[in-house]
């Protein structure tokens, strides 16, 4: 899994590219936590799932974990670019109450 960032007007866009499962999650968590430190002064963060080719329930834990990390710095988090498949999993988890869907 690759994380691609783009920062505009105090909003950091983090694009998740590739497959997110139990195997790829540990590396993705480390990479994402570095980004949290790097973009802690932003006002908001958008996790863009448009380029994610696969995600299982690992994605829920991953996103909630990053939500918690960004929240410590007062950065508001959103989820963007959901596909029908990721949307079904994320809706079931109730995560949009924490990270609204754009």
């Amino acid at each position: 899994m690759q994380l691609i960032t783009n920062c505009q007007n105090k909003t950091v866009y983090i694009t998740l590219r590739g497959e997110l499962d139990e195997h790829t999650a540990s590396r993705a968590r480390k990479d994402a936590d570095k980004l949290v430190e790097q973009y802690a002064s932003c006002e908001s963060a958008v996790f863009d799932l448009r380029e994610m080719s696969f995600m299982d329930s690992t994605g829920i834990g991953f996103l909630i974990g990053r939500y918690k990390a960004f929240s410590r710095y007062g950065v508001v988090c959103y989820i963007g670019g959901v596909t029908p498949a990721t949307d079904r999993i994320l809706s079931m988890s109730g995560i949009y109450a924490l990270m609204p869907k754009l």
């Binding site: 696969f54 991953f62 029908p84 988890s93």
Partner: protein
């Protein structure tokens, strides 16, 4: 038309992607839609991940996952059925009903969502878990393909 496969693989997270791709490839003769394929891959990924993460606790034991699939297609009406069995010979689940509860996880501090069984249930037409402590766990799932949704 009917077909069957059985695969044994090490309970390693590296095999999650392999396992779900194998099942997706195997059921292609049923002409699944992209949504159906995605449901199947997700459910298999959840089941295999459970074996990898929860199945084996003892050091040095032989950690194996058995993945069995069969497909059957009714040529008259074009409706197909995919049966999937994922099992391990690991520690088993003490309380299966509790394990199926949404958001329940035994690994609190590890960013686990506790949604694995819930997702398998939601994405497949039939789903069941049989488990015996000390013997292992067996998840059975069925996906009907090409049928009118009830």
């Amino acid at each position: 038309m009917s077909n069957y496969m059985k695969l044994e693989l090490s309970a390693l997270s590296e095999n999650e992607s392999f396992a779900r791709s194998v099942v997706a490839g195997f059921c292609l003769p049923l002409n699944p839609t992209l949504t159906e394929l995605s449901d199947i891959k997700t459910a298999v990924s959840e089941a295999v991940t459970n074996c990898v993460v929860h199945g084996y606790k003892r050091k040095g034991e032989d950690k194996t996952i058995t993945l069995e699939c069969s497909i059957r297609k009714d040529e008259e009406n074009g409706v197909g059925e995919l049966h999937i069995v994922v099992c391990d010979n690991g520690c088993g689940i003490e309380d299966v009903e509790r394990a199926k509860t949404p958001f329940f996880t035994t690994l609190e501090g590890e960013e686990r969502s506790g949604m694995g069984f819930t997702i398998m249930q939601a994405f497949m037409h039939e789903f069941s878990v049989e488990s015996e402590v000390g013997k292992g766990t067996r998840v059975t799932m069925v996906k009907r393909i090409g049928a009118q949704e009830e």
